[in-house]
Subunit: 363 residues, 2 copies
DNA sequence: ATGTTAGCAGAAAGCGCTTTCTGAAAGCGG
DNA sequence: CCGCTTTCAGAAAGCGCTTTCTGCTAACAT
């Protein structure tokens, strides 16, 4: 037996020798030794995975508390091939839309003693894939992708290449508000139906001239909302000329710019639909800058019902989504047992909320 | 040698045997075998921790890519006693104040290839401590506590009891916007100075009758802002009667309720200062409900400059804090090398931003 | 008394990596 | 041509846990 083969005991003692610099880490071994039991028993006592005589159990628990023992999650994960973390990937937590969904996720996670790893992609596709990979490395129980997917074949394929082995290895994946090109559990708002219902409500107010401030066309959410809105207008025989669909980034400033662009094209329509509330916020500012009153000159509506739109003047008409609940649903869906073969889709109803930003058109 | 002692090789082979159910996990061993090298070499090649002959290096990398190898972060963390995760604890990500700070953290983390575990306490002290404990178990490189601390001896002590062993074991801790009762790195807004500057600006507008919508008195942020505001008034010989300080929860609705309470007490002051923008939002709504025009009847100011207050009508006068940068600073501060003995405090300047919600008092 | 069975605790084998440590081969000066 | 240092790859120990597996003891039936 060569010199370097030293039994664990010896190492343990060496550590315990008084050196002020590195404090001796408290491991299960330490606890077990202090309680006068084997590590196996200590583990069982601490986790309640098997019956342990009451007396020993008490000694272990006391020793653990005494020593301030904190189990090493990595060792646990490694040994038991399971852990209690989930990953959430979104574009930016400071966007109220994601923040609300994320909050729902965190709430659900807290109830289940899960730790959430949250990653922001800042709308960088490469970063999204990198994060999936990192979460795979962490052996996260589930990965949640939140936010509109882009219709980009190459990207979808790359993402799928990351996700497929993960699910095959037992990982759970759910997407929120993202079209289901990925064959995973999906929480999908009724974007089409919601936008259509909004269109009908606006038609009912008397509007016949519309414009849509749309996000990037490759975002599936945009496409769905636009399609729903347009089809409801079409059903009423109201045209939506191509020039009345203005694209902008999916941000406050994107909505602002799009609205300005619309106004530059000539006399405004009587009603503007911004496909997200965040864009609507920018649009409202732009309309005002151009001296237009809402809703007297132009009615404005959004989609999502993020909390802040209620505080605007006038409060924004929008299509409400239960954002908090969506986050909650996503994690529940992903972690449900038993794991079903087919992926499930949970459709989230969207409800039109008429507020003061829309009114009858002035003629 | 008993039957159960089987060398790794054998297990490996057994696994590879074709069973459709559990796909054989790709480990470093697999990769090494495929590349015809030892696991040690594969590890070195993959991580670049030591020189490896170019040819072998290529074979390893190729094999890893081919097999879709993803290292097990838990095993890595366990073996190397280090990992790339940081923990962030805040009250609620859906609060724009925290969301903005968190976003700054995520940005910095992304640049450093760190994974962020984000936990929301929902203002539950017990939960906060539980999360610290969980993050300790995860051996997070750093723990960031974001948000106003409560002056509660018992709680502080409990938190400190969790944090002290953590830092002693090499963990980094930083707090943001939280008083430094904890002896850790701190990112601290100039709450006092900011509130004082705001008070002076409001005095300069001609106001002499003020009210403050304050959050819970035990929040240090509240205490500081209130103190700063009050001292500036005192310096100008302007009184701030106790009755004009109304407490409310640190939320939109808290601000709303506090404002209503204030108005119920009699004729309103000419100027109201809400200690946070979130509360100001609620206050604005309340003032309006009571038929008061802002700023014509009452001027209103907040603190923080969260993005949404710019969208209000009228846009809110406030004291701006570089929220994004604060998040960034916190993580930078915590992870800076070398670890200095003394904890550092980074003071964040607060700047008064006058917007349309404040004006000269009408007499 | 003997043979079972059940209940519990300990030994030890790993989980999938990193990192010594060891040794072989190659490079060097004298 | 020999002893020396360097370089680089493999063996193996070990990170801190969980989880068989084994075996002891006590409890029960026969």
């Amino acid at each position: 037996m060569s010199e370097r083969v030293r039994p664990r005991q010896e190492r343990q003692e060496r550590r315990t020798a008084h050196r002020t610099e590195p404090p001796p880490p408290v491991t299960l071994h330490t606890v077990a030794a202090a309680a006068g039991v084997s590590p196996a028993t200590a583990s069982r006592a601490l986790n309640g995975t098997a019956r342990v005589r009451e007396e020993l159990r008490g000694r272990v628990l006391a020793a653990a508390a005494e020593l301030g023992y904190i189990p090493n999650a990595h060792a646990q994960a490694l040994a038991s091939a399971s852990n209690n973390t989930v990953g959430v990937i979104c574009h930016d937590v400071s966007d109220p839309y994601f923040a609300a969904i994320a909050s729902g996720v965190m709430r659900a996670a807290a109830d289940q003693e899960l730790l959430v790893m949250l990653a922001s992609t800042f709308r960088d596709q490469g970063r999204e894939i990198a994060y999936v990979s990192m979460l795979r490395a962490q052996r996260a129980r589930a990965i949640l992708l939140i936010g509109s997917g882009i219709e980009d074949r190459g990207w979808e394929r790359a993402l799928d290449a990351e996700l497929a082995p993960y699910t095959r290895a037992g990982g759970r994946v759910a997407v929120v508000s993202r079209h289901r090109s990925l064959r995973v559990d999906t929480v999908l708002p009724e974007n089409r139906a919601g936008a259509a219902a909004l269109a009908r409500a606006l038609l009912a107010l008397g509007h016949r001239e519309f414009a849509v401030l749309a996000g990037p066309p490759e975002l599936t959410t945009v496409a769905d909302r636009l399609a729903g809105f347009r089809s409801a207008l079409a059903a009423a025989g109201v045209p939506l000329p191509a020039g009345r669909i203005v694209r902008g980034a999916f941000t406050r400033d994107g909505g602002h710019a799009a609205a300005l662009e619309l106004l530059a094209q000539g006399p405004p329509p009587t009603c503007v639909f911004a496909v997200t509330d965040v864009m609507a916020v920018g649009a409202l500012a732009a309309l005002r800058e151009r001296g237009l009153r809402v809703p007297d000159d132009v009615s404005l509506a959004g989609f999502d019902d993020i909390p802040l739109v209620r505080e605007l003047t006038p409060p924004l008409t929008t299509v409400a989504l239960p954002l908090h609940r969506m986050g909650h649903s996503a994690i529940t869906l992903a972690l449900r047992e038993p794991r079903t073969a087919r992926s499930r889709v949970e459709r989230i109803p969207a409800e039109v909320v008429l507020r003061a930003s829309t009114g009858r058109p002035h003629n």
